[in-house]
Amino acid sequence: MPGYGYELRCRECGKSWGNQPRSICDDCFSPLEVFFDYDAIRGTFTRQQIAARAPNMWRYAELLPLPENYSPTLPIGFTPLLNAPRLGERLGTKNLFLKNDAVCLPTLSFKDRVVAVALAQARNFGFDTVACSSTGNLANAVAAQAARNGFHAWIFIPADLEPAKIVGTQVFGANLVRIAGSYDQVNRLCSQIADERNWGFVNVNLRPYYAEGSKTVGFEIAEQLGWRLPDNIVVPMAGGSLITKIKKAFGELIELGLVEPKPVRFFGAQATGCSPISTAIKAGNSEIEPQKPSTVARSLAIGNPADGHYAIKTISQTGGWAEDVSDSELVESIQLLAETEGVFTETAGGVTVGTADKLYRQGRIHPDETTVLCVTGNGLKTTDVLTGKYETEVPIPPKIAEFDRYLESRLGVGEKDVPATVEV
């Protein structure tokens, strides 16, 4: 791997493809994967060196497929790993953590990480236009980082996307194309467009590089746990890539001696209305059957997940499991997470929390073990699912007596019960 330290290889037949904008092995039609030369960085990429770097995803640059002398343009990632005692109490565990990518910058989802790596390579390969098919979060991330880095952007979305995700793409000046169809149809169309045009499609011809950005979620979790791995991790699944890349990340840290080897069980979370991967896991199948999605969790509404096969392998090889939750369960879980931990997540996060609840109740996750839930997006993008959940308050006059009356009606508390003065 001269000059780079990484290269594309076919995951199935092993053929080397060097470094180029390509995601398919022409020989066997299988996906390409970035392989690193770990020997080249072993011993020089240390905990101390990483700790001395700025708190963002670029502190793991040696394990990202970046062009030589690449200079990042945004401080992305290193989102908080929060302990979650109050949510844990509700789920029946004292060892619960949240990886909170609801506050990932610049666009409040984990997709900022993957796009950052994809655009680094888009520049390297000489593209002036970047593009993607998206269920929303990726659209926001590509649009914002294209603006920041001076690319033209073409974004393809299913027409029924949440309004916040549409405006949150258009505001960056991206060309937004709404497709009258499902994400799977948008994705298929983008494969055809990518075949015809010399554009850097982050999740088509740049996909192997793009997907590596997801590993930074895993690197950060390990570092934030004090350079150790959790016992369990619960990950939302749409295309199925994130869960496989977190596993790859943990494996690389073990390979380089940055963490002690340890088995980690991977658990996948889906919405019942789009659950090809959890359905396959429950049925003991190694392949997915495509579904027609019907769920409010639009960011996870991929009925034919490209990485479904690998997600199933990741889950079954590690002794994990997959579950799915209904739309009402996922909305209740959004509320539960917000009320217990002050974290407002989008529908995908509701799916993760709701699934974790099921896994604890089923005894598949042991309450004494350390478990991390991946919260991948921000609730402000999907407020539509909370419509009707809260009353619109009638305004009261700005008078203390009015407030006392209001409080009485709200809480059933008499004036005499509310101390009028406070003794000092």
Binding site: I24, D184, K313, Q317
Partner: protein, 93 residues
């Protein structure tokens, strides 16, 4: 039934650069036989050694995934447009 098959760029080196093929086939099995006959080099790229459709190859008929139409049992209609599209995965497990 007369159907049209769109060949993706990645596979055109096995079809002498031909992008669209018109052929007669009643179902997917017959379509593969017709393609095998015309382009023997294409066969291993569409099916594995056991004859199964390759895992990362998606087949669409008039923009619909053929698995929703009955897969191998789907009976082609005159004028059907068939797309062969690679599934863009990036997984490692």
């Amino acid at each position: 039934m007369n159907i049209t098959v769109q060949i993706p760029t990645a596979l055109r080196r096995h079809t002498s650069g031909i992008e669209r093929i018109t052929c007669t086939a009643a179902n997917l099995g017959e379509l593969f036989s017709a393609l095998d006959q015309q382009f023997p080099d294409l066969r291993p790229h569409l099916r594995d050694d056991a004859g199964q459709i390759r895992r990362f190859l998606n087949i669409y008929v008039n923009e619909e995934d053929i698995r929703f139409l009955g897969g191998n049992t789907y009976a082609f209609q005159d004028g059907d447009e068939v797309l062969l599209v690679p599934s863009i995965a990036g997984g490692l497990a």
